[in-house]
Symmetry: C2
Subunit: 455 residues, 2 copies
């Protein structure tokens, strides 16, 4: 018999990993909740038509499709069947698909339940998504997304709150050196307008996004190759060397974009956000204006946010988000502006692990193992165990009355800090012998001292 | 454009539903943890060969299969393809499937990670499962299972602890009138042996399981139809009228089964469990020996448990479990005895809802809405909001400086208990006007009194 395995790109999580992941989830959830976001959950699979066509051709390919039940081939027309064309057959034998992200299901939710929702609607959602991506280091076929969004309001206070929320989470996780980068799509549009390349905005932002990776020359070459003129690039030069404080950058941008209405609108939005964040002060994060920030997604229309891990870990972004002006239009509900952010759980996990920032107390583990000396002694132990659990203290009885060495070995391997021995002598004295597994120290205690020791 | 919808048998959960479900999950999780169980998680989909053939023919049909990516038809031999036989094609175009329960993935996990596990291994797992069942009231195609199991020990103390665990959860949920029914597969085997129908044990237990539904005559007729003799049924008569306390039932069973070694073993196991539970005392649940309890699953070998909801709600079982002697044998790891229980989340939800037992405080909601009077006032509000959130109090700012009526209407619809008004006058006095949304009462408070009021 083959040793069993799991599909590539998926993971088993052992108790330590689950506890650590839950630690991060809980910090994020608590922050979402404190900021007034409410949880929703959507099904793991959606009707295919809800998902297909929403993520581009590449996205459609990466969506996991679920095979129809029963005699699914009977619904396929013989003429089509005989062509043996996977693309044409897919939609005939599969009507459901695993969700690819949380954004499209959220849009579907808002439209479907619009009459029961009070807008502006602040929701959060923490659920797994699935992508048939080529698995590689840090990229999985099943992973959790942690999203918070507000729909139904254009107020910039929401961008302010999202920055505070990021800061609250990373401060709570005691992760120092996190940078929250901010840009505005309107500034990018303004720049394109200023250099006369409005029609090339996508090429332009895609190239600009690579500044960190391929450097100034690389970006310029790509832009030239895409048909952006030398003259335009010259006008653009100040952008590549935008330095100094956020205030100084805002000042330079205002000058650079003085002839673009949309560009100035973007500068004004950035100013609002940055000056209010300044007044309110962040905890451990730094807010940094970064005009090279474009992010892949074409649907951002206002603020663009990205969170960079501390520089000493080579991790890239651990969160991102922004404002989009037409989330629900794809399902027929127009003019519903939204803004949202997302946390990259897997990467945050790797960062905390690398920097040894998981608190020791995260792992759920028993405080003590009661040694089993036989039915009567075990019942005596179980009476104490019952009381300790009622007091909220995790303890276990070794299930078998095996040899001491075996039972102690179990406590040792499981890293359980105390072993409790209660044989005939202890039962008579109504006591428990408590052994510290690290120091080997032993003492005899009554029940309340025992509870005190384990607390 | 069609109004978007979700696949039949699946559900969206709104904020109130998510909060209530989480309330139940958290009570169960806390109990699992207190009893020394540790969390694991497995992927949503497994390799098909891990799942197929483990749940019988019917089960195989109900497993959701995932279509291979890319040009999946190219791997199907033309000769087979031309037959257009869905059954034959399935395994050629689908290599993965959504998990059908948590038990088989757990068995796979134990075998795959056996060298990293310290046995006995106490694990819990709370994750969704998927079944292509016909959807009906209370039965869904996606639902959560909440399982706890111990593998690697035959100690009956584990059965004792699982009964305590059930009791701890339902006591914590303040659900009165829950009955934990217990039986033992060895008793059923002993009965079959006694009446000389060893080969008909499955028919026998399936029929006996229906005693509540079709009555004594119905069960007897079914047994006769299955070839169990009149004489055997006569011997069996005491079983249909087994009454009285658990002790009395044990006494009768011991007499009835005196010639069956395995039957007496079952009686002795039941006695151990029942007498120790008696000594340790339960909170709100009642433990009841029920020899008609057989449950569908054929793999139980010792204790069989089932939890019945309070009689006044018509709900059937809200949990179940038992001991199985060969969980991991299907994956090549022999002699690994296990025992486990499961909670029926959806049914527990319905019971708590019907009996109005969800605490009011379950729903995550903001304590106060700060009214937005414009940028300067909003910043003043945001300073207080920041401090309140740091103090763990959930509050929000209305994002737009809309008309008062609209903002108040939002607080009202969202059931937010307080509205906080802070205009120029309040800013000068460093105060906040707090309006109780229920009584309409208003008062002006400094920050620390405000925090006090909202706590």
């Amino acid at each position: 018999m083959l040793k069993p395995s799991i599909p590539k790109g998926t993971r088993d999580f052992n108790p330590e990993e689950v506890s650590r992941r839950n630690y991060i989830f809980n910090v994020i959830k608590e922050a979402f909740s404190l900021y007034g976001f409410q949880p929703i959950e959507t099904p793991s699979f959606e009707n295919s038509e809800t998902l297909m066509g929403k993520y581009g051709e590449e996205g459609d390919r990466l969506i996991f499709k679920i095979l129809n039940s029963g005699d699914f081939l009977s619904k396929v027309d013989d003429a089509i069947y005989s062509q043996k064309n996977s693309g044409k057959v897919t939609s005939l034998i599969s009507e459901k698909a695993l969700r690819y992200d949380l954004t499209v299901p959220f849009a579907r939710y808002v439209v479907q339940h619009q009459n029961d929702i009070t807008f502006p609607f602040k929701r959060y959602q923490i659920q797994p998504v699935w992508r048939a991506d080529r698995p590689q280091k840090g990229r999985f076929r099943e992973f959790f997304q942690c999203d918070a969004d507000v729909v139904g309001s254009t107020s910039l206070w929401q961008e302010v709150e999202f920055i505070q929320l990021y800061d609250a989470v990373f401060t709570k996780l005691a992760l120092p050196g996190v940078t929250i980068k901010i840009n505005n799509r309107k500034i990018l549009s303004g720049i394109a307008e200023t250099i006369g390349a409005e029609d090339k905005l996508t090429d332009f932002t895609v190239a600009l996004d690579k500044l960190d990776k391929i450097g100034e020359e690389g970006v310029k070459n790509e832009m030239l190759a895409k048909g952006i003129s030398e003259e335009a690039l010259l006008k653009l030069q100040p952008l590549f060397s935008l330095k100094g404080s956020n205030d100084e950058k805002l000042h330079s941008l205002k000058t650079l974009l003085e002839s673009s209405e949309i560009g100035l609108k973007g500068v004004e939005e950035l100013r609002f956000i940055q000056s209010n964040i300044n007044s309110l002060e962040l905890g451990s994060c730094e807010l940094k204006i970064d005009v090279t920030l474009a992010r892949g997604l074409n649907y951002y229309t206002g603020a663009i946010l990205e969170v960079a891990a501390p520089e000493e870990v080579n991790m890239g972004s651990i969160g991102g988000g922004g404002r989009y002006d037409d989330l629900t239009g794809i399902f027929g509900l127009k003019d519903m502006s939204g803004v949202g952010i997302s946390f990259g759980l897997d990467r945050i996990y790797l960062v905390l692990d690398e920097l040894h920032l998981f608190p020791q107390s995260v792992a759920e583990n028993s405080k003590a193992l009661f040694i089993n000396f036989g039915e009567k002694e075990a019942l005596y132990a179980m009476n104490a165990i019952k009381k300790l659990r009622q007091a909220g203290i995790t303890v276990e009885l070794y299930p078998e009355d095996s040899k001491m060495g075996k039972q102690m070995g179990y406590a040792d391997k499981r890293n359980i800090p105390f072993a409790i021995l209660a044989g005939e002598k202890e039962m008579e004295a109504k006591e428990f012998t408590v052994k510290n597994m690290k120091t080997g120290e032993q003492k005899s205690l009554g029940y309340s001292d025992l509870e005190q020791t384990l607390r």
